[in-house]
Symmetry: C2
Subunit: 423 residues, 2 copies
């Protein structure tokens, strides 16, 4: 049967074509929405910095977004956790309206100064668009799972400009304790395409500079790993992991507490918004509003400034305060950029105490606190390499892996399954 | 109960101490043995190049190593597969004599010119020493598994000078389709220490140079990913994967065939040795003997020369021939350095056909053929980053992930479990 064997040969090719046809447009949509999101975020941040008084509207802005979700949100409210559950066991899918809802509400959060991030938004855009494509093409359960993972990868890869980390993040975030290759190549393809499309819209990602080089690829010294520095990094890894634990636990507990004292969902952002305003005037700083990649003043607390040379002793603690209040009172947005901020700030001050290179520890903290909170140590190591280069891979991996070990089993995503207990 | 809660606090610290006390000496031993092995290998290669006539003794050398294994080897004969099985379900452990046996026999293979590698040897040294420590300290099954994975990581990390890739390799090689975090931090610690110790003995690893830079970290161009080049790399990834498939299948089938026509184990290397000699004189080249990192003549076929500028159209095919004959006739040694050679050679010639940067495709082939044959795409991406730098991460990951997808389910390690089917 020559026809039959010819078919057999073409079967993998046909299957590959099917995935290309599904994933390329899906990722292009996700990449474009991420580009729109990042552009809107930048405009919102500029506007907020130029008009400081807008902060006073933060409580009302929160009421608006909470009300939008209350009336139109439905299942969207559950955000990243809903997407994780749909991957673990697809049932009703992720509603398509999640994408516009989360995009608009996150931009509102940032415009009025809530301390939230972007990755949750990007992941929800990715998951919702992917679910839309899965419904449109009436995909099987298994294929839907693959497409949802690819959607997460696309959102993550595009929003941070780190496509390989995005792909691994999509595979790693589903469960604690493993990377599952259910969607290895689809996730990479989705992430690459979405990142490319996002760049094609003219979006530029922040460049971070780590001058310290633990390992020069060109003229290798006899000892490329410094054991003393490695021990310091390992110790910092423990601190980063405990910091993730504190962050995740506080966010969940404060959220429950707010729910107890204020059962009306639309009213909760008023508490968070008011507390944020009080913190701003009590501490006399606006550095902790929004993403915090750059600060309004040249020497203010910001992710870029944590790389040195100045030290910021209380920044990590203050940012934790701002962020858990914003997240627990249900402002929309991600957790990750604040985690980058907290980690880099913690690395900054640990480098002073431990007499270690500041830019190195800021970079490791940047990745490791997130690795601990999201339980994705390999994706974070890869992201560190994509952001900072390969010369400190050994220290980055040490920081991320140990932070993962020390961050407990309750991460920022409550719907992560536990495949393997950490200890 | 203040004493009890103090104990609870110290429990993780005590557990961490236990692992440090176990893993540091174990990795130091593995790293030292790897250093001895690499030094002996270099001396053996120099001697062989200086004394070409030694090749005629290859069949007898094979008889000697086969006889040593026949009389003293016991279970050691089963090599990497035995270690994988002991990790999946520890029962009798890995015999300690595996380490000296495989070290000596691999050096003999290389001294007389068999086309074999080093990773199998390093992994077996690591696994056997780890099993020895597990027996010495009477560890539980679970702890034994962790230590065996760490042993593999230590051997791999030290022999190639790529500690983070070594750690991930140890976790990824056990089963097809996942990275299991059973031993995330112990494997990293073991790999780092072993690599450090190996360097401390004065061992230097080969430096590879990839000048092509798809992505500059310092001055990011608006499009850091070139879609045409990405498509070419994806196509190459398919070729690399099929090459892995051909290599693994041919080695296993030729091995079975040799067993059928020659039931006496000690006699089989005579066939392989004789065929190797015939190939050398038929093709009038000695470039395919041994590791092949450098060639006896300046422009000979070698891994370093495949990075450019000259092209080597038949080198991949010839090296496959030499290597499957050596491995199928049971010469001792690894598969990986020959796979690096085959992959780099295939990348070299594909770069001419596809008009793509030669050093980039040689580097991707180097990693991707191994990724396909060992089913470890993430470890190989990381290894590529550790060897060549971060500037081509996107292309490296694409090559390795697609090669993994296309290499079938029979890799070079027959005892790998299948956790998740590839398609």
């Amino acid at each position: 049967m020559p026809f039959f064997s010819l078919m057999l040969l073409f079967l993998p090719v046909l299957r590959a074509m099917k995935w290309l046809i599904l994933i390329i447009p899906m990722s292009a949509v996700v990449g474009s929405l991420c580009a729109l999101f990042l552009a809107a975020l930048e405009a919102a941040t500029h506007y907020r910095v130029a008009h400081p008084a807008i902060l006073f509207l933060l409580p009302f802005a929160g009421v608006v977004t909470a009300s939008i979700y209350f009336w139109f949100g439905g299942e969207s409210e559950r955000g990243n956790n809903l997407i994780l559950e749909q991957i673990q066991k697809p049932y009703s899918g992720v509603p398509l309206r999640m994408a516009p809802l989360v995009l608009v509400s996150t931009v509102i959060s940032h415009l009025f100064g809530a301390s939230v991030g972007r990755e949750g938004t990007a992941v929800q855009i990715g998951g919702s668009i992917a679910s839309g494509f899965a419904n449109l093409f009436k995909l099987s359960q298994e294929a839907t799972r693959v497409l949802l993972i690819s959607g997460i990868a696309a959102g993550f890869g595009a929003v941070f400009g780190t496509p390989v980390a995005g792909a691994i993040f999509g595979l790693e975030v589903i469960a604690i304790g493993k990377v599952d290759y259910l969607a290895l190549v689809p996730a990479l393809l989705a992430s690459l395409i979405a990142d490319w499309v996002c760049h094609a819209w003219g979006i530029h990602h922040t460049l971070y500079t780590v001058l310290f080089s633990g390992y020069s690829l060109r003229d290798e010294p006899p000892f490329h790993t410094n054991l003393i520095l490695l021990a310091k990094v390992a110790l910092c890894g423990v601190c980063f992991g405990l910091c993730s634990l504190v962050f995740s636990e506080s966010t969940h507990r404060l959220g429950k507490f707010f729910k107890t004292i204020c059962p009306k969902a639309w009213l909760r952002p008023v508490i968070g918004g008011t507390l944020t305003i009080i913190f701003v005037y009590l501490l006399d700083t606006r550095d902790y509003l929004g993403l915090g990649i750059t600060a309004p003043e040249p020497n203010g607390a910001s992710i870029l400034n944590f790389f040195g040379p100045q030290s910021y002793p209380y920044s990590a603690l203050i940012k934790i305060l701002f962020t858990i209040v914003a997240l627990a009172s249900e402002f929309k947005g991600g957790e990750v950029t604040p985690l980058f901020f907290i980690g880099a700030a913690l690395g900054n001050i640990l480098s002073v105490w431990l007499n270690a290179p500041m830019d190195l520890l800021a970079a490791i903290g940047f990745m490791a606190v997130f690795a601990g909170a999201s339980n994705t140590p390999i994706a974070c190591t890869m992201m560190g390499i994509e952001l900072f280069g390969a010369q400190n891979t050994v220290y980055l991996a040490t920081g991320c892996f140990i932070a993962y070990l020390c961050s407990g089993h309750t991460g920022i995503y409550l719907s992560q399954q536990i495949f393997r207990s950490k200890i």
